[in-house]
């Protein structure tokens, strides 16, 4: 815990709040991640959140995450208020460079809580998700319907009493009545999505863009109300890619869940492992050796490059430029060659381990990395000429889908989408993790926050990632690739046959896997698409009690209606392309 205390940033915000609300029943909780955590009674929630957003100096203007925990089977609660369910709000202040976590204890089978959609527009989807998955009702929410599960679903999947596997469920009977019911649930009712007639003698058309459409990058639906080709209103609909990743976290051992994380942002590869493992390592107090940290950074940056290259290519393709994506796939393949040589896999290596990485770097890795570093920069110069400087592409994207820093913060936009507005918030710089503080790199920013800037920022980030990889190559520390810690590395197999203690430890750590001490911890990384966090709750077992995955794409998609109003259909395609999302990252 010493390491935790050293990194804690005392902001005094808890003291401030306690003095503003004396006797209101506010209660502080210590967490492994040292984020100030405060229990607030439901009756005080709106007032406290409003204070944090508007009244305090350097306010917490971004609603970073909103989720819930089913507390009913949790054993280690250590003085926390009694609760059946806990709703957790995580607010971020970029000025303070700090977070605060607000928790509300709820009881009963159908708990109610006031909605905060009036305070934060982006609470809309988060509250719908919590309603959908936990059955917590948010009073005053404009449109509280299911978001991840089908409308006809019964029960709330992330509740502890809901089954996790289809084999535990009743047998599915698709009789005629059921088919009718499902079909009826799929029918679009435009009024429900706030689409009203423009005026009496003026007809608009409802166009259903997706879930299968060449430009929505996966299974994603946007309902459009069109006046000619101009968009009056857009309503995104998600959930088609929901695989219950958070639920799976509750029945996989800490170790065996690692491959699932790879598939959240499926373009991010091992970068997904990182926040998950960092949270476990923080809770269990496992120190990661410098060599492992540097290897992790290097591979993360490789995946940032492959993800950004795919973005770059599909972006060009979505504005009608056919060729760049093919060239970029060649480059991605070069990067994957290196990744494959190191990890043995291309897209989903699941190669990071608790306390380090799975294996040491192979002999000759430096030569491969060097080849890639020599190859890539001149290709980027070519792409500048081919795509970025093309006048048609510029005309399609400059000034389209603009938003400023304030809007970005209001909607919870992070990553390149935020930096394109001129805000230089990069988690790797602001709160360095895994040794990023030892690297020299710049944080590229844009000016206008339009489609074009979002692309420019990412292209520049590829160059910065190359810089970081080069530094990894030149300064790779010697030493262990995995922590010498009982929860990270089992005893050496040969010695297990010598004495019973070693045998027991070996047997337990390869069969059960590590037992992580009770507690909770959220760790965040600057992922390819924005900030990605894993908020883990351990109940002192071999599995996570609750795994919350906060993904950037979820937040970013919610902003589409705000950007799409009044633009034409091709602009919407450019906007969608510029957001850079993958549906697996949205729906989890």
């Amino acid at each position: 815990m010493n390491a935790v205390l050293q990194e804690a940033r005392p902001t005094g915000i808890v003291g401030d709040l306690l003095s503003r609300y004396p006797g209101a029943g506010l209660l502080e909780q210590a967490t492994a991640d040292a984020v100030p955590t405060l229990w607030v009674p439901a009756s005080q929630l709106l007032a406290v959140l409003k204070t944090l957003k508007r009244d305090v100096t350097q306010p917490y203007r971004m609603l970073y995450d909103l989720t819930a925990i089913d507390e009913r089977q949790r054993r280690h609660r250590d003085g926390q208020p009694a609760a059946d369910f806990t709703v957790v709000y995580l607010l971020t202040s970029l000025q303070r460079n700090a977070d605060i976590r607000i928790k509300v204890a709820l009881s009963g089978d159908t708990p109610h809580l006031p909605s905060i959609t009036a305070l934060w527009a982006n609470a809309d989807w988060y509250e719908r998700e919590v309603w959908d998955l936990f059955g917590i009702v948010f009073d005053g929410h404009p449109h509280l319907v299911r978001i991840m599960m089908p409308r006809t679903w019964e029960g709330h999947p992330l509740r502890k009493d809901h089954y996790a596997r289809a084999t535990e469920a009743e047998r599915l009977q698709m009789d005629a009545a059921r088919v009718d019911r499902e079909q009826e649930a799929l029918r679009i009712k435009p009024e429900e999505w706030g689409m009203k007639a423009v005026d009496d003698d003026h007809d608009t058309m409802i166009l259903n863009l997706g879930p299968n459409h060449p430009s929505v990058h996966g299974v994603f639906r946007v309902m459009l109300q069109l006046d000619g080709e101009e968009i009056v209103q857009a309503a995104p609909d998600i959930g088609y890619h929901h695989r219950g990743a958070e639920k799976m976290g509750e029945r996989q051992s800490w170790h065996s869940y690692i491959p699932y994380t790879d598939r959240i942002d499926y373009l991010g590869g091992v970068m997904n492992n990182l926040p998950y493992l960092m949270a476990i390592e923080r809770m269990a107090g496992i120190p990661v050796p410098p060599r492992a940290q540097t290897i992790r950074v290097m591979l993360c940056e490789f995946f940032r490059i492959t993800s950004h290259l795919l973005y770059y290519g599909t972006y060009a393709q979505d504005v009608g430029s056919m060729s760049p994506v093919f060239y970029m796939f060649v480059d991605r393949q070069k990067a994957y060659d290196v990744i494959e040589a190191i990890t043995g896999f291309r897209m989903h290596p699941a190669w990071f381990r608790i306390g380090g990485v799975a294996a040491d770097l192979p002999i000759g890795w430096d030569k491969l990395v060097r080849e890639f570093l020599d190859w890539m920069p001149k290709r980027l110069v070519d792409y500048d000429k081919m795509a970025l400087r093309n006048s048609i592409l510029k005309r399609r994207s400059i000034g389209v889908g603009e938003y400023d820093t304030d809007a970005a913060i209001e909607w919870g936009v992070t990553g390149p989408g935020l930096r394109a507005t001129g805000c230089d918030f990069d988690y790797r710089k602001a709160r360095p993790y895994s040794g990023y503080e030892q690297f020299e790199f710049d944080v590229p920013t844009g000016k206008r926050g339009d489609v074009y800037d979002r692309c420019l920022v990412r292209v520049e980030e590829i160059r910065q990632s190359l810089r970081i990889i080069e530094q990894c190559l030149n300064n790779m520390p010697a030493g262990d690739y995995k922590a010498r810690h009982s929860l990270a590395t089992p005893p050496i197999k040969d010695r297990t046959m010598q004495d019973i203690e070693t045998l027991i430890h070996h047997f337990l750590s390869v069969s059960w896997g590590p037992v992580v001490p009770a507690g909770e911890c959220m760790m965040t990384v600057e992922a390819t698409k924005g900030l990605n966090s894993y908020y883990l709750t351990s109940d002192g077992g071999t599995m996570s009690y609750r795994t919350r995955i906060r993904t950037p794409s979820f937040a970013h998609l919610q902003m589409i209606p705000a950007m799409a109003r009044g633009v034409m259909v091709p602009d919407l395609i450019a906007i969608i392309a510029s957001i850079d999302f993958v549906m697996a990252d949205v729906d989890r």
Partner: protein, 322 residues
């Protein structure tokens, strides 16, 4: 009509359609070449058997008409595009004596009217599909084709004024002392852009615009009816390339080396270069937005085309009629 005529007509018809089908393969291979990949290279020599395989596939597909479509019009629409574009070929002189009606004194007007009629195919197809994407595509196609039809006609006037004839044969013969691409460089570029818009090829493929309208006007089409639109597009590419050759690059003219078949070779070579250029454009340029395309047409192309016509006319008048 005698047998020779009939042979000529069917010869041109068959070779145009076959070339169009072959072009699908050529385009895929060329795009592959320019995009660092192979393209179809497995079936037979260089993958050329892909054309046959595709043909078999498309001919044996279920001939399906969506239940919500207007059946008669839906079936008729793809035939219109093939018919009109193929008819336009009648007046294109491939070589001296090898054409259907190249001497016809309203040749250019006939071509323009046929390409204008082709828009009915797209419009009716999109409308009869009774599908939203198809309607949007049809709307775009109609506006785009009608607008660019204007610039196409105006761009051609320069050539007509210089040659003093609407007959394509006469225009080729008038280029014996110099191709019109040099004096009519502006008209050439304008005609090329308008030709792109007419054929709905990639930088200006807004009626299809895969990334926006999934497949635009032919979203609901499948099997051979889709194939007609598809091949029709390639026939139109050949027609546009043939017209560019004929009007601006001296048609079949070129050194014959005493060989009687050289004019045909020259025509095919020149047309081939333009076809490849069309394909290269597709690989190179992104797609403008619909309103940008219309604005570009009316605010840039129209004045330029008028200017071209006026200046050509003035020069010809000053120098005396040809």
């Amino acid at each position: 009509m005698n047998a020779a005529n009939l042979l000529m007509i069917s010869g041109i018809l068959v070779s145009v359609v076959l070339t169009a089908a072959l072009l699908i393969w050529v385009e895929r291979r060329m795009l592959g070449l320019w995009q660092d990949r192979w393209g179809p290279n497995r079936v037979w020599f260089l993958g050329i058997g892909q054309v046959v395989a595709d043909m078999i596939k498309i001919f044996t597909k279920d001939d399906w008409v969506p239940p919500f479509a207007d059946r008669t019009v839906f079936v008729l629409a793809p035939a219109i595009v093939m018919a009109t574009i193929l008819l336009a070929f009648a007046v294109v002189p491939i070589a001296p004596g090898i054409s259907v009606a190249a001497e016809w004194n309203v040749g250019i007007l006939f071509v323009l009217s046929m390409t204008a009629l082709a828009v009915y195919s797209v419009m009716l197809g999109g409308w009869a599909s009774n599908s939203k994407y198809a309607v949007l595509g049809a709307l775009r196609a109609t506006a785009q084709t009608i607008s660019y039809e204007v610039f196409m006609g105006l761009a051609l006037l320069g050539v007509v004024i210089q040659a003093g004839s609407f007959s394509l044969n006469d225009i080729v013969l008038a280029q014996q002392h110099g191709w019109y691409i040099f004096p009519q460089a502006l008209g050439f570029v304008l005609f090329l852009i308008a030709g792109l818009a007419e054929t709905h090829r990639l930088p200006l493929d807004l009626p299809e615009a895969e990334h926006e309208l999934t497949a635009g006007f032919h979203t609901e089409y499948s099997g051979m009816k889709f194939g007609m639109f598809f091949v029709g597009e390639y026939v139109a590419v050949i027609l546009m390339s043939g017209l560019l050759t004929t009007l601006y690059c001296g048609g079949w003219l070129g050194p014959t080396f005493g060989l009687t078949f050289m004019p045909v070779v020259w025509w095919c070579l020149k047309t081939g270069v333009f076809i490849l250029f069309f394909i290269l454009l597709r690989a190179a340029i992104p797609r403008p937005r619909y309103d940008q395309l219309m604005r570009f047409g009316w605010l840039a192309l129209l004045p330029l085309a008028l200017l071209n016509t006026a200046v050509t006319g003035a020069v010809v008048l000053l120098r005396g009629a040809p």
